[in-house]
């Protein structure tokens, strides 16, 4: 259907497809109109059009006649090798079923009865017809830009906003304090810290390795009563010293597991 083609010219030249036109097609006679299913917004639209052609009140429309017209139309369209949209065929099938049910004796009816189905179809057509008429009347109203016009160049109402700024003494002084505090030169002093240099760690570890042949834990090389910060520094330096001694072939290192204690002893070949 041409749902997607809003605001574009309708595919066919029917004047009533337009914005301002009357909504219900009152087509000229002849087959031309019947050749395009896209002229209808779906099967219900086509049915409504066919119903209106009976030129009777929708309330007294003959559903049976309408069904015949629809089926004829679909058949004709098919004969013309038009591609029939699925929903038209579904509707055709449903109407064919409805027609057969309406022709059958009453006592063989299922529920819902064909009368109910037919009546509901009629009610639907009435509603669609009513909305189509309403749309036409709506479009025919006094519309801005077509029937009535607004002032083209209004002066506009101006609301000049004047800002009253607010601030107080405390905020002012606090801001100055903030500026001064922020921009005051920051002076950093590094205090002397107890550290064990790599050199002294090398000396200490190699000296202690000379005393015994047994494995010793790295911890044992640290100064026994050092304050925590010195101890950390000593651990780092001693570890590097141990690596250095191992590299020089003066010590052997052993660690049984990841993060396990690191053991150290004098290299046997060097003994």
């Amino acid at each position: 259907m041409n749902e997607g083609l809003l605001f574009s010219d309708p595919p066919q030249s029917e004047a009533d497809e337009s914005w301002d036109g009357i909504a219900s097609p009152t087509p000229a006679s002849g087959k031309a109109l019947y050749l395009e299913l896209d002229g209808w917004e779906g099967p219900l639209d086509l049915l409504l059009d066919l119903a209106r052609r009976q030129k009777v009140d929708l309330r007294s429309i003959s559903i049976l006649a309408l069904v015949d017209q629809y089926l004829d139309y679909i058949e004709q369209a098919g004969a013309l090798k038009l591609e029939l949209a699925a929903d038209y065929l579904v509707m055709a099938a449903w109407l064919a079923y409805l027609k057969s049910a309406m022709l059958l004796p009453k006592d063989e009816q299922e529920d819902p009865s064909p009368e109910e189905l037919a009546l509901k179809l009629q009610l639907r057509l009435q509603r669609l017809g009513a909305m189509r008429d309403a749309a036409a009347r709506l479009m025919g109203g006094d519309r801005i830009g077509r029937d009535v016009f607004l002032r083209a160049a209004p002066e506009g109402l101006e609301i000049a906003r004047k800002t009253l700024w607010q601030c107080d003494q405390y905020a002012l002084i606090e801001a100055y304090g903030r500026v001064k505090a922020r921009t005051a030169p920051a002076i950093h002093m590094v205090r002397e810290r107890p550290v064990m240099t790599l050199e002294s760690a090398l000396d200490r570890v190699s000296h202690m390795l000379g005393v015994t042949l047994d494995w010793m834990e790295l911890q044992d090389f640290l100064p026994p009563h050092a304050e925590p910060r010195l101890r950390k520094s000593a651990l780092a330096s001693s570890f590097v010293a141990a690596l250095e001694l191992a590299r020089l072939g003066k010590a052997e290192l052993q660690q049984d597991e990841t993060f396990g204690p690191l053991h150290l002893r004098r290299a046997s070949t060097n003994g």
Partner: protein, 209 residues
């Protein structure tokens, strides 16, 4: 002509958008809303037969040219965008049934409504999303806007052409309700309520198509 009427006249004349009596009274400072309303009605009466009119659309007021002069003014004015028949139908269905879900619109039209149709109507400013219906699936429901009333020259939704008649003849009721009415079954109360709330009824219907 009193000062308030002059002020109201000038403000509406200068305004770029329609204004409600309340907005006018706020804008004009100390004017009582009731007095502004009186002034509006007096002005509307004064302009009734002139080349321009003062009209109320959805509680907002604006000046416009008299419709019978359209033929004189139309020529150089920009052409209205053409709206497809599908869009006009959807707009009418929303206006007469609002708030209404897409499934309900489709049930009346018997075809699927592409999102583009609703988008176009929303872009035009005539339709807005009016929330969700509190039923399973929480479908979005649509309604018309004050701009819709303005554009189509309606003072309120009550002025929709033929609305009263459509209501009286039940043509705005769902098919199932109408059917039960016809069959002489008093529609149960839940029906009367649910009609608007049940997308199911819409879905059932559309299975016909």
């Amino acid at each position: 002509m009193d000062d308030l009427a002059r002020a109201v006249e000038a403000a509406l004349f200068a305004a770029e958008e329609p204004m409600s009596a309340d907005a006018l009274s706020a804008f004009l400072g100390d004017a009582a809303p009731g007095e502004v309303r009186d002034a509006l009605h007096a002005l509307a009466a004064h302009y009734e037969d002139r080349g321009i009119r003062l009209v109320e659309r959805g509680k907002r007021w604006h000046f416009e040219t008299a419709p019978d002069l359209a033929h004189l003014l139309r020529r150089e004015k920009e052409q209205l965008r053409r709206l497809s028949r599908a869009a006009t139908e959807v707009l009418a269905i929303i206006a007469y049934h609002e708030p209404v879900s897409r499934a309900e619109i489709e049930s009346i039209r018997g075809v699927q409504t592409s999102g583009g149709t609703l988008d176009v109507l929303m872009e035009a400013g005539w339709v807005k999303i009016a929330g969700r219906r509190e039923v399973p699936g929480r479908p979005t429901i649509y309604a018309t806007t004050p701009e819709f009333l303005e554009h189509f020259g309606l003072a309120s939704r009550r002025d929709l052409p033929g609305l009263a008649e459509l209501r009286a003849t039940g043509l705005l009721d769902p098919v199932d309700d109408a059917y039960e009415d016809l069959m002489g079954e008093a529609p149960t109360e839940t029906k009367a309520d649910d009609g608007a709330d049940e997308p199911e009824s819409a879905t059932d219907d559309s299975s016909l198509a």
